[in-house]
C-alpha cells in the first residue's frame, strides 16, 4: 500500500503559563512511501518522528495536511479503520494475557462482517506465530519472555489482522546490542516475506541504513532529506544529515573557498569547481582520507587504532570543529607512528562543502 504524506503539520498547544507558545512537532512534512517498502524515519530524539508515526497510525490527528493510503484519504479515519498494525516501543503486550491471547486480541475485536470464525482465528494466530517463530511460546505470559521474544509477539499481534501498513516505534531500542543486530535482520525478513509497507522510527542511523529501502532524516520536525540510504549518505543535502549519518561520524572542518579551491588551515586541499569565494564547512567522511607523504592536509598524529580489516587514524587539526579527526584507511598502508604529523589527501567524492550560515550543501563540479 502506497503511503503519501502531504504537507503534514502537527502543532501541540502550549502548556501552562510557562510555555504559552504552541509547539510545532512536525512541520510541512511531505513524503511518498512506495508500496511494499521498508522506510526508516530517522532523527535525534525530539525531532517529531514518533509524532509522524502516530499520525500515520491515527493516534494523533494532524493540524493540517493529508495522509493517503493508496487512493484512500485516511487523514480523518480512526486507527482501526485505517488497517494499520503498530508495534510500540515497550511492546505494550497485555501482561495478564498469554502470548496466544495477546495475538488473538485484535481479531476478537472484529465485529459484523469482518468477524472470523473460531477456527479461522486460530488458524490466523498460528500462522502469524509461525511467521515470527514463536510457536513454542504460545502459553507463556509476556513477563516470562525475553525482550526479543516479546518483540516478536508484538509484531505478530500487529500482523495478525493483515494490516495494510505496519508501523514500528523504536522497535529495537529495548534490546541488547547482539539481539538488536539479529532482530533487525528478522524484521527485514518478515517485511520481505509479507511484502507489507512498513514504516519504522529510530534514532540509530546504523539500524536505519542497514535494513531500510528508504530513509527519511528529520530534524526539529522538518524532513531534511529522504532517499535510498546509500544515496543520502553519499549526497547529503545539509550539514545535519551529513553529521547524522555514518559511524564513525563525519569530520567537519572550517574552511574557505578562494579561486575555486578549498583551503583548510590555509592549505589548498581540494579543487572546488564552480564554487564562489566564501567561508564554508568542509565535511570529510572517515574513509575519504588517503595517506600521502606529501598530502595537503597536515594533522597532528595522536594514535592509531588497528581493527584488522582497516586502520583508524586519530589525529587533530586546528580547523576541525570536533575534538579529533578520525580517518579510516586500509590496513595495507603503513602509518609512521613515530612521526608527530600525518599527511592526508582527500577523496573528492567523500568530501562535502556546506555554506557557513545556512549549512546548506554547496555543489562542487567534478571534473
Amino acid at each position: 500500500m502506497k503511503i503519501v504524506l502531504d504537507h503534514l503539520t502537527k502543532k501541540f498547544p502550549g502548556r501552562g503559563r510557562k510555555n504559552p507558545g504552541e509547539v510545532a512537532a512536525v512541520s510541512d512534512f511531505t513524503l511518498e512511501i512506495p508500496d511494499g517498502e521498508l522506510v526508516g524515519l530517522l532523527g535525534p530524539s525530539g525531532c517529531g518522528k514518533s509524532t509522524t508515526l502516530n499520525m500515520i497510525c491515527g493516534l494523533e490527528t494532524p493540524t493540517s495536511g493529508t495522509i493517503h493510503f493508496g487512493d484512500d484519504d485516511v487523514t480523518k479515519l480512526s486507527p482501526e479503520l485505517r488497517g494499520v498494525g503498530m508495534v510500540f516501543q515497550n511492546y505494550a503486550l497485555y501482561p495478564h494475557l498469554n502470548v496466544r491471547q495477546n495475538i488473538l486480541f485484535p481479531l476478537e475485536n472484529l465485529r459484523g462482517k469482518d468477524r472470523l470464525s473460531k477456527e479461522e482465528m486460530e488458524r490466523r494466530v498460528s500462522e502469524t506465530a509461525r511467521l515470527v517463530q514463536i510457536e513454542d511460546l504460545m502459553e507463556r505470559k509476556p513477563k516470562e519472555l525475553s525482550g526479543g521474544q516479546q518483540q516478536r509477539v508484538a509484531i505478530a499481534r500487529a500482523l495478525v489482522k493483515f494490516p495494510r501498513v505496519l508501523l514500528l516505534d523504536e522497535p529495537l531500542s529495548n534490546l541488547d546490542a547482539r539481539l538488536r543486530l539479529q532482530t533487525r535482520e528478522e524484521i527485514r525478513k518478515i517485511q520481505k516475506k509479507t511484502g507489507i509497507t512498513t514504516v519504522f522510527v529510530t534514532h540509530d542511523q546504523d539500524e536505519a541504513m542497514s535494513i531500510c529501502d528508504r530513509i527519511a532524516v528529520m530534524q526539529n520536525g522538518v524532513l531534511m532529506q529522504q532517499g535510498h540510504p546509500q544515496q543520502v549518505y553519499d549526497d547529503p543535502s545539509c550539514l545535519f544529515v551529513a553529521k547524522f549519518l555514518g559511524t564513525p561520524p563525519i569530520n567537519v572542518f572550517e574552511g574557505v573557498v578562494r579561486g575555486q579551491t578549498l583551503y583548510i588551515g590555509g592549505q589548498p586541499v581540494l579543487p572546488a569547481g564552480g564554487v564562489k569565494d566564501q567561508e564554508v564547512f568542509a565535511a570529510v567522511r572517515p574513509e575519504g582520507f588517503v595517506l600521502q607523504s606529501d598530502g595537503p592536509l597536515s594533522c597532528r598524529l595522536e594514535r592509531v587504532e588497528v581493527m584488522g580489516r582497516d586502520v583508524s587514524v586519530i589525529s587533530s587539526h586546528d580547523a576541525c570543529t570536533g575534538p579529533a579527526v578520525r580517518s579510516i584507511i586500509s590496513a595495507e598502508s603503513r602509518v609512521d607512528t613515530a612521526s608527530s604529523t600525518v599527511r592526508f589527501a582527500l577523496k573528492p567524492g567523500k568530501a562535502f562543502l556546506f555554506e557557513k550560515d545556512s549549512e546548506k550543501r554547496v555543489t562542487v563540479q567534478q571534473n
Binding site: 486507527p79 482501526e80 503498530m86 516501543q89 505494550a92 497485555y94 495478564h96 475485536n109 489482522k161
Partner: protein, 294 residues
C-alpha cells in the same frame, strides 16, 4: 553465622518489644479473659475455666442482633462502595476539565469528622413532631409518606447506616482507584485503540485486570473495616445501640465493657474473639479467591 543471628535478633528487639507488649500480650490476655468463667472485675477473681462466656454471648439476643447488623452492613456496603468508587474513578480519569476540582470534592468527606457527618445525616434523615428532614421533605414532594429513618423501622435505619458507611468509605477508595488507573501505562490503551477495541471491552479486558490488585486490596480492607464498624452507628443512633437495635459486634464489645450493662470483660472478650475468628475466616477466603484469579 551464630553471631550474626544474635545480632539480627538484637536489631529486631525494639520492634519485637513493642509488638509483644502492645499486640501479642493483649491478644493472649483477651483470650484468657474469654475463658475465665464468672470473672469478678472488682475482686479480680473467677470460679473456673471453660467456654461458658462464649455460650452466653452466642445466646445473647443483643449479640445475635449485632452479628446480623454487622453482616448486613458488610454484605451491602463493601460491594456497593467498591463498585461506586470504581465507577466514579473511571469517570474522573476520563474527563479532563475540572478533574482536580472533582477530585477534591470527592475527597472532602475523608477529612471531615465522622461524628459531625453523622449529625448532618441525622438531620437530613430525621422525622420529629416539629420538623421533617430534607430527605423526608423530598419523599413527601413526590407523594410518598415520611419515614423516620433514625428512630423508625429496622430497614430504614439499616438503609441510613449503609448509606452513611458507603459515603464515609468512598473517598479513600476513589483516591486509591484513581491513582491505580493513572498508573496503567497509556500504551496499552493506544494499542487497544489501534486494534479497534470497543470501550466496554477495553474496560473489562485491560483496565480491570490491570487494577485488580488494588480492587482486591480495597475489598479486603473494606471487609475488615466494615466488620469493625462502630462509630458510624453511634454517630447516627446515639450510644444506646442495643435499644435502637442497631448495634454492631464492636459496639456490643464496648457495651459489655463500659456501657450501661458494662463491667463484663469476660463476655466482651468472648465476643471480641468471635469477631476475630469471623474476620480471619473472611480474609482468608478473600485471599484465596484473589490468588486464584491472579
Amino acid at each position: 553465622m551464630k553471631k550474626n543471628n544474635g545480632k539480627a535478633w538484637l536489631y529486631l528487639l525494639p520492634a519485637l518489644l513493642f509488638l509483644i507488649v502492645f499486640m501479642v500480650y493483649p491478644l493472649i490476655d483477651v483470650f484468657i479473659y474469654s475463658i475465665e468463667e464468672g470473672f469478678n472485675f472488682a475482686s479480680q477473681t473467677y470460679y473456673g475455666v471453660g467456654l461458658y462466656n462464649f455460650s452466653y454471648v452466642l445466646h445473647d439476643p443483643y449479640f445475635l442482633q449485632a452479628v446480623q447488623n454487622t453482616f448486613l452492613l458488610v454484605i451491602i456496603t463493601v460491594p456497593v462502595s467498591t463498585g461506586l468508587a470504581l465507577l466514579i474513578s473511571v469517570g474522573l480519569s476520563s474527563i479532563r476539565p475540572l478533574r482536580e476540582l472533582y477530585q477534591t470534592i470527592y475527597f472532602l468527606p475523608y477529612v471531615t469528622n465522622t461524628l459531625a457527618v453523622g449529625l448532618v445525616f441525622m438531620i437530613l434523615f430525621q422525622k420529629t413532631e416539629y420538623t421533617d428532614g430534607l430527605v423526608n421533605l423530598v419523599i413527601e414532594l413526590f407523594g410518598g409518606n415520611a419515614v423516620d429513618f433514625i428512630d423508625g423501622p429496622y430497614w430504614a435505619k439499616m438503609f441510613v447506616l449503609c448509606f452513611y458507611t458507603v459515603w464515609v468509605v468512598l473517598p479513600f477508595k476513589i483516591l486509591v482507584l484513581t491513582s491505580a488507573l493513572a498508573s496503567v501505562n497509556q500504551d496499552y490503551y493506544k494499542a487497544a485503540r489501534v486494534d479497534g477495541t470497543p470501550r466496554l471491552r477495553v474496560f473489562t479486558r485491560i483496565t480491570l485486570p490491570m487494577i485488580s490488585p488494588m480492587i482486591f486490596y480495597l475489598v479486603i480492607t473494606g471487609f475488615i473495616g466494615a466488620f469493625k464498624a462502630y462509630s458510624d452507628a453511634v454517630a447516627l443512633f446515639g450510644t444506646d445501640l442495643n435499644a435502637s437495635g442497631m448495634n454492631t459486634i464492636v459496639g456490643y464489645v464496648y457495651d459489655m465493657l463500659y456501657g450501661d450493662s458494662g463491667g463484663y470483660p469476660s463476655y466482651a472478650s468472648a465476643a471480641a474473639i468471635l469477631l476475630f475468628a469471623i474476620v480471619l475466616t473472611v480474609t482468608c477466603i478473600n485471599l484465596l479467591v484473589s490468588r486464584k484469579k491472579a
